[in-house]
Symmetry: C2
Subunit: 234 residues, 2 copies
Protein backbone atom coordinates (compact mmCIF):
# COMPACT_ATOMS: atom_id res chain seq x y z
CA UNK A 1 0.00 0.00 0.00
CA UNK A 2 1.43 3.40 -1.00
CA UNK A 3 -0.31 4.88 2.00
CA UNK A 4 2.13 3.13 4.32
CA UNK A 5 5.10 4.76 2.62
CA UNK A 6 3.52 8.18 2.99
CA UNK A 7 2.70 7.63 6.63
CA UNK A 8 6.29 6.63 7.34
CA UNK A 9 7.61 9.66 5.49
CA UNK A 10 5.37 12.01 7.45
CA UNK A 11 6.16 10.48 10.82
CA UNK A 12 9.87 10.45 9.98
CA UNK A 13 9.80 14.08 8.88
CA UNK A 14 8.16 15.19 12.09
CA UNK A 15 10.47 13.20 14.33
CA UNK A 16 13.64 14.02 12.41
CA UNK A 17 12.72 17.69 12.60
CA UNK A 18 12.00 17.40 16.31
CA UNK A 19 15.02 15.44 17.50
CA UNK A 20 17.45 15.09 14.61
CA UNK A 21 18.67 12.01 12.79
CA UNK A 22 20.20 10.28 15.79
CA UNK A 23 17.54 11.40 18.23
CA UNK A 24 14.68 9.86 16.28
CA UNK A 25 14.82 6.07 16.42
CA UNK A 26 13.46 3.89 13.65
CA UNK A 27 11.22 2.14 16.13
CA UNK A 28 9.58 5.37 17.26
CA UNK A 29 9.06 6.51 13.69
CA UNK A 30 7.27 3.30 12.83
CA UNK A 31 5.29 3.42 16.04
CA UNK A 32 4.02 6.91 15.22
CA UNK A 33 3.27 5.85 11.66
CA UNK A 34 1.46 2.77 12.94
CA UNK A 35 3.49 0.35 10.85
CA UNK A 36 5.94 -2.44 11.55
CA UNK A 37 9.67 -1.80 11.99
CA UNK A 38 10.45 -3.79 8.88
CA UNK A 39 8.45 -1.40 6.73
CA UNK A 40 11.17 1.22 6.84
CA UNK A 41 13.59 -1.28 5.35
CA UNK A 42 11.04 -2.49 2.86
CA UNK A 43 10.15 0.94 1.47
CA UNK A 44 13.37 2.93 1.91
CA UNK A 45 16.17 0.44 2.50
CA UNK A 46 17.92 2.15 5.38
CA UNK A 47 17.13 4.80 7.95
CA UNK A 48 19.56 7.16 6.26
CA UNK A 49 17.79 6.81 2.91
CA UNK A 50 14.55 7.61 4.71
CA UNK A 51 16.12 10.77 6.10
CA UNK A 52 17.20 11.87 2.64
CA UNK A 53 13.68 11.35 1.36
CA UNK A 54 12.28 13.40 4.24
CA UNK A 55 14.64 16.29 3.49
CA UNK A 56 13.82 16.11 -0.20
CA UNK A 57 10.15 16.24 0.67
CA UNK A 58 10.70 19.37 2.75
CA UNK A 59 13.22 21.24 0.62
CA UNK A 60 10.94 22.39 -2.23
CA UNK A 61 9.40 24.81 0.25
CA UNK A 62 12.55 26.80 0.32
CA UNK A 63 12.18 28.32 -3.11
CA UNK A 64 12.11 31.90 -4.19
CA UNK A 65 10.62 30.66 -7.44
CA UNK A 66 7.31 30.70 -5.65
CA UNK A 67 7.45 34.46 -6.03
CA UNK A 68 6.81 34.04 -9.71
CA UNK A 69 4.41 31.18 -9.71
CA UNK A 70 1.52 31.79 -11.98
CA UNK A 71 3.30 34.68 -13.63
CA UNK A 72 5.44 35.01 -16.67
CA UNK A 73 8.93 36.16 -15.78
CA UNK A 74 9.05 38.88 -18.40
CA UNK A 75 5.49 40.08 -18.05
CA UNK A 76 6.00 40.73 -14.36
CA UNK A 77 5.10 44.34 -13.76
CA UNK A 78 6.14 44.44 -10.14
CA UNK A 79 8.76 46.98 -9.13
CA UNK A 80 12.05 45.76 -7.62
CA UNK A 81 10.89 47.15 -4.28
CA UNK A 82 7.67 45.18 -4.46
CA UNK A 83 9.64 42.08 -5.40
CA UNK A 84 11.83 42.48 -2.33
CA UNK A 85 8.81 43.03 -0.13
CA UNK A 86 7.23 39.89 -1.58
CA UNK A 87 10.43 37.95 -1.05
CA UNK A 88 10.61 38.91 2.62
CA UNK A 89 6.99 38.01 3.14
CA UNK A 90 7.37 34.68 1.36
CA UNK A 91 10.34 33.77 3.52
CA UNK A 92 8.50 34.68 6.70
CA UNK A 93 5.43 32.73 5.68
CA UNK A 94 7.58 29.69 5.22
CA UNK A 95 9.36 30.30 8.50
CA UNK A 96 6.51 30.95 10.89
CA UNK A 97 3.37 30.71 8.77
CA UNK A 98 0.69 28.18 9.63
CA UNK A 99 0.09 26.96 6.09
CA UNK A 100 3.31 25.09 5.64
CA UNK A 101 3.91 22.14 7.98
CA UNK A 102 6.19 23.21 10.80
CA UNK A 103 8.35 20.09 10.57
CA UNK A 104 9.41 20.86 7.01
CA UNK A 105 11.00 24.16 7.93
CA UNK A 106 12.44 22.73 11.12
CA UNK A 107 14.10 19.98 9.17
CA UNK A 108 15.50 22.42 6.64
CA UNK A 109 16.89 24.70 9.33
CA UNK A 110 18.51 21.70 10.92
CA UNK A 111 20.11 20.84 7.62
CA UNK A 112 21.36 24.40 7.32
CA UNK A 113 22.96 24.31 10.75
CA UNK A 114 24.76 21.04 10.17
CA UNK A 115 24.55 19.66 6.66
CA UNK A 116 24.17 15.92 6.38
CA UNK A 117 26.65 14.41 3.91
CA UNK A 118 23.81 12.55 2.22
CA UNK A 119 21.79 15.69 1.51
CA UNK A 120 24.65 18.13 1.19
CA UNK A 121 24.96 18.49 -2.56
CA UNK A 122 21.25 18.37 -3.19
CA UNK A 123 20.45 20.83 -0.45
CA UNK A 124 23.25 23.23 -1.29
CA UNK A 125 21.85 23.62 -4.78
CA UNK A 126 18.44 24.47 -3.42
CA UNK A 127 19.68 27.17 -1.07
CA UNK A 128 21.99 28.60 -3.70
CA UNK A 129 19.26 29.11 -6.29
CA UNK A 130 17.09 30.76 -3.68
CA UNK A 131 19.93 33.07 -2.67
CA UNK A 132 20.66 33.99 -6.28
CA UNK A 133 17.04 34.95 -6.69
CA UNK A 134 17.44 37.43 -3.88
CA UNK A 135 20.67 38.74 -5.40
CA UNK A 136 18.89 39.35 -8.69
CA UNK A 137 16.12 41.21 -6.93
CA UNK A 138 18.70 43.36 -5.16
CA UNK A 139 20.42 44.13 -8.45
CA UNK A 140 17.20 45.73 -9.58
CA UNK A 141 17.19 47.89 -6.49
CA UNK A 142 20.83 48.84 -6.11
CA UNK A 143 22.98 50.81 -8.53
CA UNK A 144 25.20 49.00 -10.99
CA UNK A 145 28.44 50.19 -9.53
CA UNK A 146 27.93 48.57 -6.17
CA UNK A 147 30.59 45.96 -5.39
CA UNK A 148 29.62 42.32 -5.42
CA UNK A 149 30.45 41.67 -1.78
CA UNK A 150 28.08 44.43 -0.72
CA UNK A 151 25.19 42.66 -2.44
CA UNK A 152 26.08 39.52 -0.56
CA UNK A 153 26.30 41.35 2.76
CA UNK A 154 22.95 43.03 2.21
CA UNK A 155 21.32 39.81 1.04
CA UNK A 156 22.54 37.99 4.12
CA UNK A 157 21.32 40.80 6.35
CA UNK A 158 17.89 40.31 4.83
CA UNK A 159 17.64 36.53 5.01
CA UNK A 160 19.09 36.43 8.51
CA UNK A 161 16.29 38.56 9.86
CA UNK A 162 13.73 36.22 8.33
CA UNK A 163 15.30 32.91 9.31
CA UNK A 164 16.06 34.02 12.84
CA UNK A 165 12.47 33.60 13.92
CA UNK A 166 12.63 29.91 13.26
CA UNK A 167 16.27 29.34 14.11
CA UNK A 168 15.81 30.73 17.59
CA UNK A 169 12.11 29.97 17.74
CA UNK A 170 11.88 28.15 21.06
CA UNK A 171 14.04 30.75 22.73
CA UNK A 172 12.13 33.71 21.34
CA UNK A 173 8.92 32.38 22.81
CA UNK A 174 10.44 32.95 26.21
CA UNK A 175 12.21 36.20 25.45
CA UNK A 176 9.24 38.02 23.97
CA UNK A 177 6.64 38.94 26.61
CA UNK A 178 3.21 37.43 25.96
CA UNK A 179 1.50 40.79 25.57
CA UNK A 180 3.91 41.73 22.76
CA UNK A 181 3.53 38.46 20.88
CA UNK A 182 0.70 39.60 18.58
CA UNK A 183 3.22 42.03 17.07
CA UNK A 184 5.36 39.12 15.89
CA UNK A 185 2.93 37.58 13.44
CA UNK A 186 3.87 37.04 9.81
CA UNK A 187 2.13 40.25 8.84
CA UNK A 188 3.73 42.40 11.47
CA UNK A 189 7.20 40.99 10.98
CA UNK A 190 6.99 41.24 7.21
CA UNK A 191 6.14 44.87 7.59
CA UNK A 192 8.85 45.55 10.12
CA UNK A 193 11.66 43.78 8.26
CA UNK A 194 10.70 45.28 4.91
CA UNK A 195 10.63 48.74 6.34
CA UNK A 196 13.85 48.13 8.24
CA UNK A 197 15.62 46.96 5.10
CA UNK A 198 14.23 49.68 2.87
CA UNK A 199 15.26 52.30 5.35
CA UNK A 200 18.72 50.78 5.65
CA UNK A 201 19.15 50.83 1.89
CA UNK A 202 18.28 54.50 1.80
CA UNK A 203 15.19 53.87 -0.27
CA UNK A 204 13.03 56.05 1.88
CA UNK A 205 12.64 58.91 -0.52
CA UNK A 206 10.89 56.84 -3.13
CA UNK A 207 9.94 53.31 -2.21
CA UNK A 208 9.20 53.73 1.44
CA UNK A 209 6.99 56.67 0.66
CA UNK A 210 5.04 54.49 -1.73
CA UNK A 211 5.08 51.90 0.98
CA UNK A 212 3.67 54.27 3.53
CA UNK A 213 1.13 55.55 1.07
CA UNK A 214 -0.13 52.02 0.65
CA UNK A 215 1.00 51.72 -2.94
CA UNK A 216 3.17 48.73 -2.09
CA UNK A 217 1.28 45.71 -0.97
CA UNK A 218 2.78 43.64 1.78
CA UNK A 219 0.58 41.90 4.23
CA UNK A 220 -2.41 44.07 3.58
CA UNK A 221 -1.35 46.80 5.94
CA UNK A 222 -2.52 50.32 5.31
CA UNK A 223 -1.42 52.22 8.37
CA UNK A 224 2.18 53.24 8.71
CA UNK A 225 4.26 52.26 11.65
CA UNK A 226 6.19 55.45 11.12
CA UNK A 227 9.56 54.20 12.15
CA UNK A 228 11.60 57.31 11.68
CA UNK A 229 8.87 59.66 12.67
CA UNK A 230 9.41 58.26 16.11
CA UNK A 231 13.14 58.19 15.81
CA UNK A 232 15.19 60.90 17.34
CA UNK A 233 15.83 63.50 14.68
CA UNK A 234 18.75 65.68 15.51
Amino acid sequence: MEDTRTRILLAAGELFAERGFDGASAREICERAGVNIAAINYYFGTKEALYVEAVKAAAPLFRAEALFEGREMEADTRSPAQLLADYIRLMLEHMIGQETPAWKMKLIMREMLEPTPACEAFFHQHVLTNFRHLLRILEGLLPGGIPEYRKYQIALSIVSQCTHYRAAGKLLEKIIPPELRPQFSVDHLARHITEFVFSALGLRSSFVDQWRAGKLDCGGYADALALDRNVKSE
Copy 2:
Protein backbone atom coordinates in the same frame (compact mmCIF):
# COMPACT_ATOMS: atom_id res chain seq x y z
CA MET B 1 43.79 14.86 39.34
CA GLU B 2 41.83 17.97 38.41
CA ASP B 3 43.48 17.93 35.03
CA THR B 4 41.51 14.86 34.02
CA ARG B 5 38.22 16.59 34.71
CA THR B 6 39.25 19.55 32.60
CA ARG B 7 40.38 17.36 29.74
CA ILE B 8 37.04 15.55 29.74
CA LEU B 9 35.15 18.84 29.81
CA LEU B 10 37.12 20.18 26.86
CA ALA B 11 36.78 17.04 24.76
CA ALA B 12 33.09 16.84 25.60
CA GLY B 13 32.53 20.48 24.69
CA GLU B 14 34.16 20.04 21.31
CA LEU B 15 32.34 16.84 20.47
CA PHE B 16 28.96 18.00 21.79
CA ALA B 17 29.32 21.16 19.72
CA GLU B 18 30.29 19.14 16.67
CA ARG B 19 27.69 16.39 16.73
CA GLY B 20 25.17 17.17 19.45
CA PHE B 21 24.34 15.30 22.62
CA ASP B 22 23.28 12.07 20.98
CA GLY B 23 25.90 12.19 18.25
CA ALA B 24 28.83 12.32 20.63
CA SER B 25 29.31 9.02 22.44
CA ALA B 26 30.80 8.81 25.89
CA ARG B 27 33.48 6.47 24.61
CA GLU B 28 34.62 8.89 21.94
CA ILE B 29 34.73 11.76 24.42
CA CYS B 30 36.95 9.80 26.76
CA GLU B 31 39.08 8.60 23.88
CA ARG B 32 39.73 12.16 22.78
CA ALA B 33 40.41 13.20 26.36
CA GLY B 34 42.76 10.27 26.78
CA VAL B 35 40.99 8.95 29.86
CA ASN B 36 39.08 5.84 30.81
CA ILE B 37 35.35 5.51 30.21
CA ALA B 38 34.69 5.28 33.92
CA ALA B 39 36.12 8.75 34.46
CA ILE B 40 33.02 10.43 33.08
CA ASN B 41 30.94 8.68 35.72
CA TYR B 42 33.51 9.37 38.40
CA TYR B 43 33.72 13.11 37.81
CA PHE B 44 30.29 14.01 36.48
CA GLY B 45 27.95 11.16 37.31
CA THR B 46 26.13 10.85 34.01
CA LYS B 47 26.66 11.93 30.41
CA GLU B 48 23.80 14.40 30.74
CA ALA B 49 25.41 16.07 33.75
CA LEU B 50 28.59 16.37 31.71
CA TYR B 51 26.64 18.07 28.94
CA VAL B 52 25.20 20.58 31.37
CA GLU B 53 28.68 21.38 32.65
CA ALA B 54 29.91 21.85 29.10
CA VAL B 55 27.11 24.30 28.32
CA LYS B 56 27.73 26.14 31.56
CA ALA B 57 31.38 26.41 30.65
CA ALA B 58 30.48 27.91 27.27
CA ALA B 59 27.59 30.18 28.23
CA PRO B 60 29.52 32.95 30.01
CA LEU B 61 30.81 33.98 26.59
CA PHE B 62 27.38 35.12 25.61
CA ARG B 63 27.36 38.22 27.77
CA ALA B 64 26.81 41.81 26.86
CA GLU B 65 28.30 42.67 30.23
CA ALA B 66 31.67 42.33 28.53
CA LEU B 67 30.88 45.67 26.94
CA PHE B 68 31.40 47.31 30.28
CA GLU B 69 34.24 45.29 31.66
CA GLY B 70 36.87 47.47 33.19
CA ARG B 71 34.57 50.45 33.19
CA GLU B 72 32.26 51.94 35.73
CA MET B 73 28.70 51.89 34.52
CA GLU B 74 28.01 55.52 35.37
CA ALA B 75 31.35 56.93 34.29
CA ASP B 76 30.93 55.49 30.81
CA THR B 77 31.28 58.35 28.41
CA ARG B 78 30.40 56.42 25.28
CA SER B 79 27.46 57.63 23.26
CA PRO B 80 24.50 55.29 22.71
CA ALA B 81 25.55 54.94 19.09
CA GLN B 82 29.04 53.90 20.10
CA LEU B 83 27.56 51.44 22.57
CA LEU B 84 25.46 49.85 19.84
CA ALA B 85 28.46 49.68 17.54
CA ASP B 86 30.45 48.02 20.31
CA TYR B 87 27.63 45.60 20.99
CA ILE B 88 27.48 44.51 17.37
CA ARG B 89 31.21 44.07 17.23
CA LEU B 90 31.29 42.10 20.48
CA MET B 91 28.61 39.75 19.21
CA LEU B 92 30.42 39.18 15.94
CA GLU B 93 33.72 38.56 17.69
CA HIS B 94 32.04 35.89 19.75
CA MET B 95 30.36 34.44 16.69
CA ILE B 96 33.19 34.22 14.20
CA GLY B 97 36.21 35.62 16.03
CA GLN B 98 39.30 33.48 16.48
CA GLU B 99 39.92 34.37 20.13
CA THR B 100 37.03 32.49 21.63
CA PRO B 101 37.02 28.70 21.14
CA ALA B 102 34.76 27.81 18.26
CA TRP B 103 33.11 24.93 20.10
CA LYS B 104 31.74 27.21 22.80
CA MET B 105 29.70 29.29 20.39
CA LYS B 106 28.69 26.22 18.42
CA LEU B 107 27.38 24.62 21.56
CA ILE B 108 25.48 27.74 22.54
CA MET B 109 23.89 28.07 19.12
CA ARG B 110 22.87 24.45 19.35
CA GLU B 111 21.24 25.16 22.68
CA MET B 112 19.44 28.13 21.16
CA LEU B 113 18.04 26.05 18.31
CA GLU B 114 16.73 23.29 20.54
CA PRO B 115 16.97 23.95 24.25
CA THR B 116 17.93 20.97 26.38
CA PRO B 117 15.58 20.57 29.36
CA ALA B 118 18.57 20.31 31.67
CA CYS B 119 20.04 23.65 30.62
CA GLU B 120 16.82 25.43 29.75
CA ALA B 121 16.29 27.57 32.82
CA PHE B 122 19.94 28.38 33.30
CA PHE B 123 20.46 29.20 29.65
CA HIS B 124 17.30 31.23 29.27
CA GLN B 125 18.45 33.54 32.00
CA HIS B 126 21.76 34.11 30.27
CA VAL B 127 20.24 35.01 26.92
CA LEU B 128 17.62 37.19 28.54
CA THR B 129 20.10 39.37 30.40
CA ASN B 130 22.10 39.78 27.21
CA PHE B 131 18.99 40.76 25.29
CA ARG B 132 17.95 43.26 27.95
CA HIS B 133 21.36 44.87 27.65
CA LEU B 134 20.68 45.47 23.99
CA LEU B 135 17.22 46.82 24.78
CA ARG B 136 18.73 49.30 27.20
CA ILE B 137 21.25 50.44 24.61
CA LEU B 138 18.43 50.94 22.13
CA GLU B 139 16.48 52.98 24.62
CA GLY B 140 19.35 55.43 24.64
CA LEU B 141 19.13 55.67 20.87
CA LEU B 142 15.41 55.70 20.25
CA PRO B 143 12.87 58.22 21.46
CA GLY B 144 10.89 57.58 24.61
CA GLY B 145 7.56 57.33 22.87
CA ILE B 146 8.46 54.34 20.77
CA PRO B 147 6.27 51.31 21.53
CA GLU B 148 7.82 48.41 23.38
CA TYR B 149 7.27 45.86 20.63
CA ARG B 150 9.21 48.04 18.20
CA LYS B 151 12.26 47.90 20.43
CA TYR B 152 11.98 44.13 20.47
CA GLN B 153 11.63 43.94 16.70
CA ILE B 154 14.63 46.18 16.16
CA ALA B 155 16.70 44.34 18.74
CA LEU B 156 15.93 41.02 17.08
CA SER B 157 16.78 42.43 13.67
CA ILE B 158 20.18 43.36 15.08
CA VAL B 159 21.05 40.13 16.85
CA SER B 160 19.79 38.02 13.97
CA GLN B 161 22.27 39.58 11.58
CA CYS B 162 25.10 38.81 14.00
CA THR B 163 24.12 35.27 14.93
CA HIS B 164 23.36 34.28 11.36
CA TYR B 165 27.00 33.93 10.47
CA ARG B 166 27.43 31.14 12.95
CA ALA B 167 23.96 29.63 12.68
CA ALA B 168 24.34 29.08 8.95
CA GLY B 169 28.12 28.91 9.05
CA LYS B 170 28.77 25.73 7.11
CA LEU B 171 26.31 26.72 4.43
CA LEU B 172 27.64 30.24 4.04
CA GLU B 173 31.10 28.88 3.31
CA LYS B 174 29.66 27.38 0.18
CA ILE B 175 27.36 30.25 -0.76
CA ILE B 176 29.92 33.02 -0.54
CA PRO B 177 32.45 32.88 -3.40
CA PRO B 178 36.07 32.49 -2.20
CA GLU B 179 37.18 35.79 -3.66
CA LEU B 180 34.52 37.64 -1.63
CA ARG B 181 35.34 35.91 1.64
CA PRO B 182 37.84 38.51 2.90
CA GLN B 183 34.91 40.91 3.05
CA PHE B 184 33.23 38.73 5.66
CA SER B 185 35.75 39.09 8.44
CA VAL B 186 34.75 40.33 11.87
CA ASP B 187 35.90 43.83 10.99
CA HIS B 188 34.09 44.03 7.68
CA LEU B 189 30.88 42.52 8.99
CA ALA B 190 30.87 44.71 12.08
CA ARG B 191 31.16 47.71 9.86
CA HIS B 192 28.46 46.53 7.46
CA ILE B 193 25.92 45.55 10.08
CA THR B 194 26.48 48.68 12.14
CA GLU B 195 26.04 50.88 9.14
CA PHE B 196 23.04 48.86 7.97
CA VAL B 197 21.34 49.19 11.34
CA PHE B 198 22.19 52.86 11.79
CA SER B 199 20.85 53.63 8.36
CA ALA B 200 17.71 51.63 9.04
CA LEU B 201 17.11 53.54 12.27
CA GLY B 202 17.37 56.84 10.44
CA LEU B 203 20.40 57.88 12.41
CA ARG B 204 22.26 58.98 9.36
CA SER B 205 22.07 62.69 9.93
CA SER B 206 24.01 62.59 13.15
CA PHE B 207 25.56 59.31 14.12
CA VAL B 208 26.39 57.90 10.75
CA ASP B 209 28.05 61.13 9.81
CA GLN B 210 30.23 60.84 12.88
CA TRP B 211 30.73 57.26 11.89
CA ARG B 212 31.84 58.18 8.43
CA ALA B 213 34.00 60.95 9.78
CA GLY B 214 35.83 58.38 11.87
CA LYS B 215 34.63 59.79 15.17
CA LEU B 216 33.01 56.49 16.08
CA ASP B 217 35.41 53.66 16.60
CA CYS B 218 34.41 50.27 15.28
CA GLY B 219 36.98 47.90 13.97
CA GLY B 220 39.52 50.58 13.25
CA TYR B 221 38.12 51.46 9.87
CA ALA B 222 38.67 54.93 8.52
CA ASP B 223 37.39 54.77 4.97
CA ALA B 224 33.69 54.92 4.38
CA LEU B 225 31.88 52.25 2.47
CA ALA B 226 29.44 54.88 1.40
CA LEU B 227 26.36 52.74 1.30
CA ASP B 228 23.79 55.23 0.21
CA ARG B 229 26.11 57.18 -1.99
CA ASN B 230 25.97 54.15 -4.20
CA VAL B 231 22.30 53.63 -3.73
CA LYS B 232 19.90 54.74 -6.36
CA SER B 233 18.65 58.16 -5.40
CA GLU B 234 15.49 59.05 -7.22
